[in-house]
């Protein structure tokens, strides 16, 4: 009886081959300046925390296709987080698992607790529209490492935005009920949009144009006014308690 009668040698063995291109292949690596490290930390934290919130959707998606798509998006963001955290010159796991909430530099949009699927779609639409603009600009960054990370990220985040935009249109222009849920999600999350543009205020106009177009096709309105966000809750602390629990309970362990 030969269970392994398939050819399990060579590249053909893996569904997607093993020839993944390292996005940093051949990119000269110089020590990061404090200013560069700080920027990479913030971009890395955004991706790490947002990825976590999408990971929480695992086994909860409305359809299997979305299960696959959301895992893909969470994986892309996790991959971006790892490259960016590494670019700070510090250990990725020390940064992810042994920092307190106060040390995280992510935007609040990434950290707030999950709601329903409309909440996820709106959050992802806003986050990826903003992040795509940020990464597109960073492709021209003087740091070649950050530029290479951004170049890889642009392709990924363009897909994330596309996915969110398609769902925004389907849910906005779906049933009365789905439309109400989308309106509620927009109202809930819109106060967190302002913070996104404290780093790059000039990206706001392009962001507004894209969001305006998607919401118009979804027959939804851009929320009026800019209500200030409420006080920061314990959402991130709670998220980190779950994310860091195993790593911190066995500080000497190797994984």
């Amino acid at each position: 009886m030969d269970l392994y009668d398939d050819d399990f040698t060579g590249d053909g063995h893996w569904a997607f081959g093993t020839g993944f291109r390292d996005p940093l292949d051949g990119v000269p690596m110089t020590p990061a300046s404090p200013e560069l490290a700080e920027r990479c930390l913030a971009l890395g934290d955004d991706a790490l925390v947002m990825s976590h919130r999408i990971q929480e959707w695992c086994t909860r998606a409305p359809e299997l296709e979305d299960e696959v798509a959301l895992a893909n998006i969470a994986l892309d963001l996790l991959g971006q987080a790892r490259l960016l955290l590494a670019r700070t010159g510090r250990d990725e796991d020390a940064l992810a698992f042994h920092r307190e909430a106060a040390g995280f530099r992510n935007v609040r949009l990434a950290e707030v607790r999950n709601g329903d699927f409309a909440h996820l779609v709106v959050r992802l639409l806003v986050f990826s529209t903003w992040r795509l603009a940020v990464l597109e600009r960073l492709r021209g960054d003087p740091d070649p490492v950050l530029a290479a990370i951004a170049d890889k990220g642009v392709k990924e985040v363009a897909y994330h935005r596309d996915y969110a935009a398609r769902w925004t249109i389907m849910l906005g222009d779906g049933t009365e009920h789905s439309r109400e849920r989308m309106e509620r999600a927009l109202a809930d999350l819109w106060p967190l949009v302002g913070e996104l543009f404290t780093r790059d205020p000039d990206l706001r106009a392009g962001f507004d144009a894209v969001i305006g177009e998607v919401l118009a096709r979804a027959t939804l309105k851009v929320p009026a006014g800019t209500a200030p966000p409420g006080p920061r809750g314990d959402d991130l602390a709670e998220l980190l308690a779950e994310m860091q629990g195993v790593a911190r309970s066995l500080p000497e362990a190797t994984w």
Binding site: P62, V68, D93, H177, R181, G245, A253
Partner: protein
């Protein structure tokens, strides 16, 4: 001799439009649906650990693995659809208990070592079961199995690699691994189903070349494959009767608790209710989303 019998006798594949006995069709639907459900329910015990993984590398590996399981579910449901089934209907049958999934996913995952042991033992057992199914007589299922097996073997290596790393870590990590092996060993052996003497459908499934080997043959193969891997890892398999039998050229091993298997299949395992409740909740909470997507599609059709 009918065309169906000729195809089976020639060891060729039955395709969706081919004639097939109703009992063959029913058996295939049951087997493929059960396999698809197992992939989807199987996402839960490991999915719990994604947000808790102790390093970013392990998190990425686990997330990709659970994503693969969703993908396997997708193409297995597609294979069932070639037999005239509907995915939504199969999902209903899963959550109201009319169709089963693998008993193994009704056991809890208690530590991160369980992620490694599931990769090593549970995926290992699944590979033993599924590699022969790549030559199963129903074409769409056999082709789906080829891709599933490749990805499963990747998962199995990753699980084993995690355990190797943990065994090289602290004493607490080694204890976690041994504890997980103790809990998963017997349920893994039960994955091959009841003993041949108690498996009434085996003979017909073998005659139809849906199955290629009996439950006991596959179980033996799995034990023989796993024992040297356990030795290399440095863990003890929790079976005092386990020993090499030179005369047979195989390992002798103890008898799994078949009453336990019956109880777990019957719905009385440690996590049956939780697994189904989670699946039901996801399905029900997604209903308004699927309705909205359908309503949107209708609007698009109405206004080209």
């Amino acid at each position: 001799m009918s065309t169906f019998d000729e195809v089976i006798a020639a060891d060729q594949r039955i395709e969706p439009r081919d004639e097939m006995p109703e009992a063959y069709r029913k058996t295939m639907v049951r087997q493929i649906a059960q396999h698809a459900h197992s992939e989807i329910i199987g996402m839960q015990p490991e999915g719990y650990w994604i947000t808790r993984a102790p390093s970013l590398r392990r998190k990425a590996i686990l997330l990709a693995k659970v994503q693969d399981e969703a993908g396997h579910g997708l193409y297995l449901y597609a294979a069932a659809e070639t037999l005239g089934m509907d995915r939504a209907d199969l999902t209903e049958r899963l959550i109201d208990g009319r169709q089963k999934y693998s008993s193994i996913f009704n056991y809890p995952t208690l530590s991160y070592a369980d992620v490694g042991v599931i990769g090593w033992l549970v995926d290992g057992a699944a590979i033993c079961n599924q590699v022969p199914l790549c030559r199963s007589s129903y074409g769409p299922y056999a082709r789906a199995m080829i891709r599933v097996c490749k990805e499963e073997s990747f998962h199995q290596r990753q699980g084993y690699e995690l355990l190797m790393t943990m065994m090289g870590g602290t004493a607490a990590q080694r204890a976690m691994v041994q504890d997980a092996v103790d809990r998963w060993w017997w349920p893994s052996l039960m994955m091959f189903g009841p003993p041949d003497a108690d498996s009434p459908n085996t003979a017909r499934s073998m005659a139809w070349r849906i199955k290629r080997h009996t439950n006991d043959e596959l179980r033996q193969k799995f034990v023989d494959m796993t024992v040297p891997q356990a030795e290399r890892l440095g863990v003890t398999l929790p079976d005092p009767e386990l020993r090499w039998n030179a005369e047979r050229g195989h390992h002798d091993f103890g008898t799994p608790d078949w009453d336990e298997l019956k109880r777990v299949i019957g719905g009385d395992g440690p996590c049956n209710a939780e697994r189904i409740a989670n699946r039901r909740r996801a399905h029900e909470e997604g209903a308004w989303v699927r309705e909205a997507a359908a309503a949107h599609a209708r609007k698009k059709e109405a206004t080209p």
